[in-house]
């Protein structure tokens, strides 16, 4: 299903983005022996990390809000009221 595929892709990309930024793009982790440990390897890497966190949760919105293509049970607006 397309919906599941897109949501899953977002989750995977989100986690991958987090892992890649944390390990390879942000400031290296270690005994701070030079200025290398105080500068991110790629500017705004932390913003990418946050984007990764957000993508994982955006997946949920996409999964629910993606318009239907008529392939699923459709038009019965049967929400009972209080």
């Amino acid at each position: 299903m397309k919906r599941v595929a897109i949501a899953l892709a977002l989750v995977v990309v989100g986690f991958a983005l987090q892992a890649i930024t944390y390990l390879f793009l942000a400031t290296p982790i270690g005994k701070p022996t030079s200025v290398r440990f105080s500068n991110p390897r790629v500017p705004f890497a932390p913003a990418l990390f946050i984007l990764g966190v957000m993508l994982v949760f955006i997946a949920a919105i996409v999964y629910e809000l993606l318009p239907e293509r008529g392939d699923e049970g459709s038009t019965r607006g049967d929400e009972p009221r209080a």
Binding site: K31, S34, V35
Partner: protein, 245 residues
């Protein structure tokens, strides 16, 4: 490359606090903030009491906790061993201050004054200083500095950022000693390249037993003490540390 460090001879220190004064003049630090601080200790019970002195600059640790915790990398380690603060990047969270076991960081709580101690351009002062540029007025400190091309504290004491001892980087880069070392009347402070076995501090460390402060914290300070002993839990400071700001 030179890797600087300091040796402090506690047998020589008389507790005159001349280093604190010269630091303040050189770096124009606000009231109550001491980049260099001299402890005056008391030990033992009357009548067997003893007074001791211990200067405490920034320890310029090789494994500096302040560098580790800085959330934005404003605190950084230079290749030459100095730990420096990029006051253009600092966000003023003061995490370095709580992480430092030595209490060397100072925060700029209010707006800076142009000169806290004396006006270098005043009529009676100008001839004496003969055009020397003080650190706080040093234009090169307002620019990215040194091989790291990062700002370094020592300049304007911008409100809301952290400062600390720079080992007077602006003097060291010119081949001079830091102000505190230069002004010590008894040569209790010795500055130099610890990697060079021919340097004066390296020779002293070769000859005499030494210790570093709070080595158990794993910070690997670049300031070594010879003569005397580290403070213990029995050590009391004579004056209660308290400064009005």
């Amino acid at each position: 490359m030179a890797r600087y460090g300091m040796v402090i001879d506690l047998d020589r220190c008389t507790g005159c606090r001349g280093c604190m004064v010269s630091c303040k003049i050189e770096n124009n630090t606000p009231q109550g903030s001491y980049w260099m601080y001299v402890f005056r200790f008391e030990e033992g019970e009357y009548p067997a009491t003893k007074v001791r002195f211990m200067p405490r600059p920034c320890q310029h640790c090789d494994n500096a906790p302040c560098v580790k915790v800085c959330p934005v990398g404003a605190r950084y380690k230079r290749e030459d061993g100095l730990v420096a603060t990029d006051w253009q990047r600092c966000i003023g969270c003061r995490y370095c201050e709580v992480a430092c076991p030595y209490g060397v960081n100072t925060f700029n709580w209010g707006h800076p004054e142009e000169h806290y101690y004396f006006d270098w351009n005043a009529e009676d002062v100008a001839p004496e200083v003969r055009g020397t540029i003080p650190a706080w007025d040093n234009p090169s400190l307002d620019e990215p500095y040194g091989p790291e091309q990062r700002h370094i504290a020592g300049g304007g004491h911008l409100k809301g950022v952290v400062d600390k001892c720079t080992f007077c980087v602006q003097r060291v880069e010119e081949g001079l000693d830091p102000a505190c070392v230069q002004n010590c009347p008894v040569r209790a402070l010795i500055f130099g390249d610890l990697d060079d076995p021919e340097s004066e501090p390296a020779k002293i460390l070769e000859r005499r037993p030494s210790f570093r402060l709070l080595e158990e914290a794993g910070t690997e300070p670049r300031v070594h003490y010879v003569g005397g002993a580290p403070p213990t839990s029995e050590t009391r400071q004579i004056e209660p540390a308290k400064a009005e700001v």
